[in-house]
Amino acid sequence: MDARPNAMTKAIVVRNLCVDFTRDDGGRVRALNNVSVAIAQGEFICVVGRSGHGKTTLLNVIGGLLGRYEGEVYALGKKVTGPGIDRGVIFQRDAVFPWMRVEDNVAFGLRVAGIPKSERARIAREHLDMVGLGDVKRAWPRELSGGMRARVAVAGVFASDPPILLADEPFGALDYVTRRQLQEVLFQLWQRTQKTVLFVTHDVDEALRLGSRVIVISNGAIVEDQHVDLPPPRTDDDLATPRSLELKHLLLRHIGLE
């Protein structure tokens, strides 16, 4: 087992990561070019960038969902070779299992881990209450709105209690109001549990509202890495201060909108 000294204190360590894809016509595309980053435990990192520039690829590599990569990727000191229960993932697409009731969806990770039924039910109920879905725990996913299914996904991931949480644009498909509500839910859960969160988004406002640190990926490389010094909770007013706006303009410039 690789035991690198500074890797033990960091939640995620990425060193010289390169990822190539083969296109349909046979050409090779470099999705990530020599990316290196270290994420401390308990950080809420937002990864921003334009579509196709590599932020989801980075998340997939760390999550172990992308087998082939060059370089070194460590999560909690161990080399990443595949998906694992130490890195929970909230997917961009709706991954709530339609054939399981809400409470079974939330308890799935626990069931897989062999936790007895009564214990599972208790934990599931707890987390559903935390996201405000206590009333619909016996419902089928098809009966829920998109926003409620997103909450189920969040509850499910937190119920399994992974130390690291990877979120791949989880609220992108939701309307503005629901998105703001879910950001609030996720943020509160993070504060309560102090997990390490890697949150990929193309929404600059969302990144500034949630992240303690913001990284910008452009053309497969990290071009910006800033700490966000605003104390939580961040209201819209907080985001309108000159310093926040300066940061926002910086980010917008990097993603080409300014």
Binding site: G63, I85, R93, A95, M148, T178
Partner: protein, 277 residues
């Protein structure tokens, strides 16, 4: 999320109130059946009985010949009635369908996951489409003789091919995100099979089963007409030789009734199993 969202979700699970439109819809179904019988009777009244008889005459024939039918004895079937012959048919269909479908489903799902198997199976299935199953009927007769096995093999072969195609497509259509999600939550391959793949393919496979079973009845009857020791197909053949239209219609109606009943049973079962869809 508002209280409205939650109550809407909960409300969707409550009872639907009966609307006038629902009542109208419920009435048109039996009205449609009555219409069917009326049209049949009308057409039959204008044709000679050697061509078509009314549904009532068919029902009478059915009633008289269900348990014992001396007619059948003339052609070597014994004094069996339609009922016993139907039992033979139903037994063959169900055995062939069950065995064939099971094989087809397993191979179909496996071939979706294992590329090597797919490369081998796909061309075979393509060649052995549904038409060749029919042409195999006389071949099986030559090879295995006038025994139940010949028909069961035909139905089983057809079911296996159809369900392989459906199952492979169903497995391909399961959204990969579900399996990825399961992997990130630590599920083993067995757990992924049980909790993701099987529920995921269930709706499409159950739909395919319905389609396959519907055709299986015809295939079995056809094989029996070609050559069999018993069965409703043999009854039809016997009755054809004496131009007994009432009897022929009675037998065809019997097969139709059984096929419709079996289909309804499948629909109810499917609806329960996939009530989440």
């Amino acid at each position: 999320m508002t209280a409205d969202d939650v109550s809407a979700a909960v409300g969707r699970r409550g009872k639907r109130t009966l609307r006038t439109r629902d009542l109208g819809d419920a009435l048109t179904a039996p009205a449609g059946v009555v219409l069917f019988l009326l049209v049949w009777t009308a057409v039959a009244s204008r044709l000679p009985p050697s061509r078509l008889v009314s549904p009532w005459a068919v029902a009478i024939d059915l009633w008289n010949n269900f348990l014992r039918s001396p007619r059948m004895a003339v052609f070597g079937l014994g004094e069996t009635g339609y009922g016993e012959l139907l039992l033979y048919t139903a037994r063959n269909v169900l055995i062939g369908f069950a065995v064939g479908s099971a094989i087809g489903i397993i191979i179909g799902i496996a071939s979706a996951r294992f590329r090597l198997l797919r490369i081998i199976i796909d061309p075979i299935v393509l060649v052995l489409g549904t038409v060749p199953v029919l042409v195999a009927a006389p071949l099986f007769l030559l090879w295995f003789g006038v025994v139940p096995f010949t028909q069961v093999l035909l139905v089983a072969g057809y079911s296996a091919i159809m369900m392989e195609i459906f199952s492979q497509a169903a497995a391909d259509n399961v959204d990969p995100v579900y399996e990825k999600s399961a992997m990130t939550r630590g599920a083993s391959w067995y757990q992924r099979l049980r909790f993701i793949l099987i529920p995921g393919v269930a709706p499409e496979i159950l739909g395919g089963l319905r389609i396959t079973l519907a055709s299986a009845w015809g295939l079995e009857t056809f094989a029996e007409i070609l050559g069999a020791p018993s069965g409703i197909g043999q009854a039809i053949k016997t009755l054809t030789n004496v131009n007994n239209v009432a009897g022929m219609l009675a037998c065809v109606s019997l097969v139709a009734i059984v096929a419709i009943a079996a289909d309804m049973l499948l629909v109810v079962t499917n609806r329960h199993i996939t009530r989440w869809a």
